[in-house]
């Protein structure tokens, strides 16, 4: 079927309202509901699936997550809207060949420059939180964490206290609340991942390398941890816990443990191992293959 088709005026519906006006009215109706919902939700920013966690840096990370998510929802929602708009309203209605537009420089420049600005903003926000997370402020408490196939060993240097366990023994790292805790992390064999969900944080335990970071817990409680980097057969079971207690409870626990350790050391000198982390010498391998 052949038609004469040059630049046509917009089609009129029987009611005399142009197609464009009808589209705008439809759009207004569709968009009003979600905007109203957002307004009614009040000032609470949604979690977007994450949680504030139990440390100072986990809370900063949480806020960064929310910020990124708001951006993602706006950009993603807008783009999705454009896709649906095109797919619904530019559906083929005839055999006419549409206007063969090929480019629009101002528009293309706009959607180049705006994303660059957004990206720079995201980067700036990232830097703020990142610098906080990798900082190593002065700490009174130090814990050496050694990962091995397939468990964890927590050493309190200078105190002769070691807590260790394999797979389902689920060893517990005890640390005080409201104090900077400096962690020295390494591995005796392969690469492992030290991940605590409630801290919004993970770091690799690498053989031959000492990874250092600081945690400052703000809530007491027991938090689950797990190895996140594939390390062999029992990777799925390489779990641990972190127990954050009050400072007095921590001191009491530490002294108690130290006494027990001293008594044990007096009895059997060979059993006790104090592990100290040296970046150049690999620690002895425990368990595993």
């Amino acid at each position: 079927m052949s038609k004469v088709s040059c630049v046509e005026p917009p089609a009129l519906s029987p009611q005399g309202v142009s197609d464009r006006t009808r589209r705008w009215r439809r759009l207004r109706r569709i968009v009003t509901l979600p905007i109203a919902a957002l307004a009614l939700a009040g000032c609470t920013v949604p979690t977007f699936g994450a949680s504030p966690g139990a440390t100072t840096s986990s809370q900063s990370v949480y806020h960064l997550w929310q910020g990124f998510s708001i951006g993602a929802v706006i950009v993603g929602g807008f783009t999705l809207l454009l896709i649906f708009w095109a797919v619904i309203f530019y559906r083929r209605k005839s055999d006419n060949i549409p206007k063969q537009s090929q480019y629009h420089i101002p528009l293309e420049m706009t959607y180049t420059i705006i994303p660059v600005l957004i990206v720079l903003g995201l980067f700036a926000a990232t830097l703020v939180v990142e610098n906080k997370e990798v900082a190593l402020p002065k700490s009174d408490v130090t814990i050496n964490v050694n990962a091995f196939q397939w468990g964890w060993e927590f050493t309190y240097p200078g105190q002769n206290v070691v807590v260790t366990g394999q797979t389902t023994q689920d060893p517990e790292m005890i640390m005080p609340v409201n104090e900077n805790v400096h962690i020295n992390l390494t591995s005796s064999d392969v690469t492992h991942g030290f991940y605590v969900h409630a801290f919004n944080f993970s770091r690799y335990a690498l053989p031959g390398i000492l990874n250092q970071f600081t945690l400052r817990a703000v809530n007491t409680g027991t938090y689950n941890g797990q190895c996140t980097q594939l390390c062999g057969l029992y990777h799925s079971l390489m779990v641990f816990r972190v127990k954050v207690v009050s400072q007095s409870q921590y001191s009491a626990w530490l002294t108690g443990e130290a006494n027990v350790a001293a008594a044990k050391a007096a009895k059997t000198a060979t059993n006790q191992q104090t592990s100290s982390i040296t970046p150049t010498k690999p620690a002895k391998s425990k368990g595993g293959y």
Partner: protein, 567 residues
């Protein structure tokens, strides 16, 4: 101003192929073994890659079945490690990669630029045999004592050394990748040479179709990245068998070096996987909106920018190692979002004010747009180290890259539905295609979206059981249902091939396509063209079929009087 085109240049009278008349070439299996025709080689790649997709998909279904309950015993812990390693390896190294640059690219790129074949036909054939033997090598790990490779598709040191993974399965994995690596490198050489040297008269670089441009950038990335992987694999093999200590601490080596080498290849690799499908989707959207590609030059520059940036972001896979320069890799990774966003808006702009019609290929392209949008946005989170620290190695990352690769699979299916008629001469059934699309699209969202939440709730990746977290069970079950839906879509696809076999002849140009491959017959003749049209834009076939609708000086169509009926 309308352009009066010269009549097409006659290369050979139609139906008369001198060469075949003079030489009675080999037949049957000998013909297949000795072919150097890019169309046959490309079809071999396509069939092999789809078989690899089915194998990798079978592994996926077993994995998802295992994860349905927290303490499942469907497979053992050891078997599970082999399963996810080989699932990832087969899908990335043996399916998506070869499909991206060896299958449709091999068939379509020479035709799109008006060339009779690839620049080095025998090297092209060698690429295929290396791919096939490499695949067999890697998969034969299942038949040796100790089983297949089980250290993840990334084979981190020291887990991949001979102490932690002593079996031959790992060496077969390495060997298979050496073969497929060279296969890719030779294809990269071929693509570059073909595009640089074999274009038809008038086909300037900036008149090439976007698919060809994307394959050119892919080829350059292959040449820059794959040798690094090959070198790393040789180093790994030497560490395993020749007593070197490149990656082991005990000998003074650095395990993290493996990660640097692997990911220096690994990140360009994911763009090598993605760019060809970006190209396919661009072509499909333009044809099924009956408009030219919007922002052609912007698309080309965005593709080149993505390729260039991709070489400088590798350590965003290593943020949690604690030994990489976080801000550098963060800003570079965030910047890649910009050219990707440009492409997304250009795709939408191509549809805008067009006459969009929903063949299966177009549905797949739109499914790609939506799914890639989700995957791409979640990638931006991962570019921020603080956000990466708590999502790395969790199911959030797994969901991110599965959104991306499933979008690529939709692009691949779109490419098969779009170019299938050109390659085989027969149409695929559109009803089956639409059913396949909906199972694939809905299945993808159902299996990936719960995984984002699982990751945010703390579920690590590469675990076979999760006995301490029964609350994760429900979302895992939802995800498994989605995986089953995707599996069904593959079955529908296979059924479509059977049902459509030699049924509906396609004709030269069933979709009213724009680019040069739609000018020749379906399937194309021995050296691709009996006649070539004059080339004055990036849409030579469209210009020939619709004089008066060419995109003129200001990017708008000229006033016209007559219409050519659409096929």
């Amino acid at each position: 101003m309308t352009d009066v085109l010269d009549p097409p240049m006659i290369l050979e009278p139609e139906g008369h192929d001198e060469h075949l008349e003079e030489h009675h070439g080999p037949t049957g299996i000998l013909k297949w073994i000795t072919t150097t025709d890019h169309k046959v080689i490309g079809l071999s790649y396509t069939v092999t890659a789809v078989i690899m997709m089915v194998i990798g998909g079978a592994f996926a279904e077993i994995i998802r079945a295992q994860l349905t309950t927290p303490n499942n015993t469907l497979v053992s812990l050891a078997q599970y490690n082999e399963l996810f390693t080989m699932h990832g390896s087969v899908m990335i190294y043996l399916f998506v990669g070869p499909f991206a640059f060896g299958a449709l690219a091999n068939i379509i790129v020479p035709i799109q630029i008006g060339a009779p074949d690839m620049a080095f036909p025998r090297l092209n054939a060698l690429s295929y045999w290396l791919y096939l033997t490499g695949s067999i090598t890697m998969l034969s790990g299942f038949f040796v004592a100790g089983g297949a490779a089980n250290f993840g598709w990334v084979a981190y040191a020291p887990l991949s050394n001979s102490i932690n993974t002593p079996g031959s399965g790992a060496d077969l994995w390495i060997g298979g990748l050496l073969l497929t690596g060279f296969s890719a490198i030779f294809t990269g050489v071929n693509l570059c040479a073909t595009v640089f040297y074999l274009r038809a008269p008038g086909m300037t670089m900036f008149r090439m179709p976007i698919f060809t441009w994307n394959l050119l950038v892919t080829a350059i990335l292959i040449l820059l990245a794959f040798p690094v992987l090959t070198a790393g694999l040789i180093m790994l093999y030497c560490d395993r068998h020749f007593g070197t200590h490149i990656f082991s601490v005990a000998g003074g080596g650095v395990p993290v070096l493996w990660q640097h080498i692997f990911w220096f290849w690994g990140h360009p690799e994911v763009y090598i996987l993605a760019l060809p499908f970006f190209g396919m989707v661009t072509e499909i959207i333009a044809v099924f909106s009956r408009k030219p590609v919007f922002g052609y030059k912007g698309m080309v520059f965005a593709t080149i920018t993505i390729g260039a940036l991709s070489l400088g972001v590798w350590a965003h896979h290593m943020f949690t190692t604690g030994v990489v320069l976080l801000p550098f890799f963060s800003i570079m990774s965030l910047l890649i979002a910009v050219p990707t966003g440009i492409k997304m808006f250009n795709w939408i702009g191509t549809m805008w004010r067009g006459e969009v019609w929903f063949s299966t290929a177009m549905l797949m392209a739109i499914g790609f747009l939506i799914t890639f949008l989700v995957g791409g946005l979640t990638g931006i989170y991962l570019a921020s180290p603080p956000l990466d620290f708590f999502t790395h190695d969790t199911y959030f990352v797994v969901a991110h890259f599965h959104s991306i690769v499933m979008a690529l699979v939709m692009g691949a299916m779109g490419g098969l539905y779009y170019w299938g008629p050109k390659i085989t001469g027969y149409m695929l059934n559109e009803t089956y295609g639409k059913i396949q699309f909906w199972f694939l699209f809905i299945g993808t969202q159902v299996f990936t979206l719960p995984q984002y939440l699982l990751g945010l709730r703390g579920m690590p990746r590469r675990i076979a059981i999760y006995p301490l977290h029964p609350s994760w069970e429900f979302l895992n079950q939802v995800s498994t249902v989605g995986a089953v839906l995707v599996g069904i879509s593959t079955v529908v696809f296979m059924a479509n091939i059977v049902v459509s076999w030699k049924k509906t002849p396609a004709g030269d140009n069933p979709w009213d396509g724009h680019t040069l491959e739609w000018f020749t017959t379906s399937p194309p003749p021995h050296h691709n063209f009996y006649r070539l049209p004059q080339i004055r834009s990036e849409r030579p076939t469209w210009d020939y079929n619709h004089p008066g609708h060419t995109a003129a000086e200001h990017g708008h169509s000229a006033p016209h009087r007559d219409e050519t009926p659409v096929a």
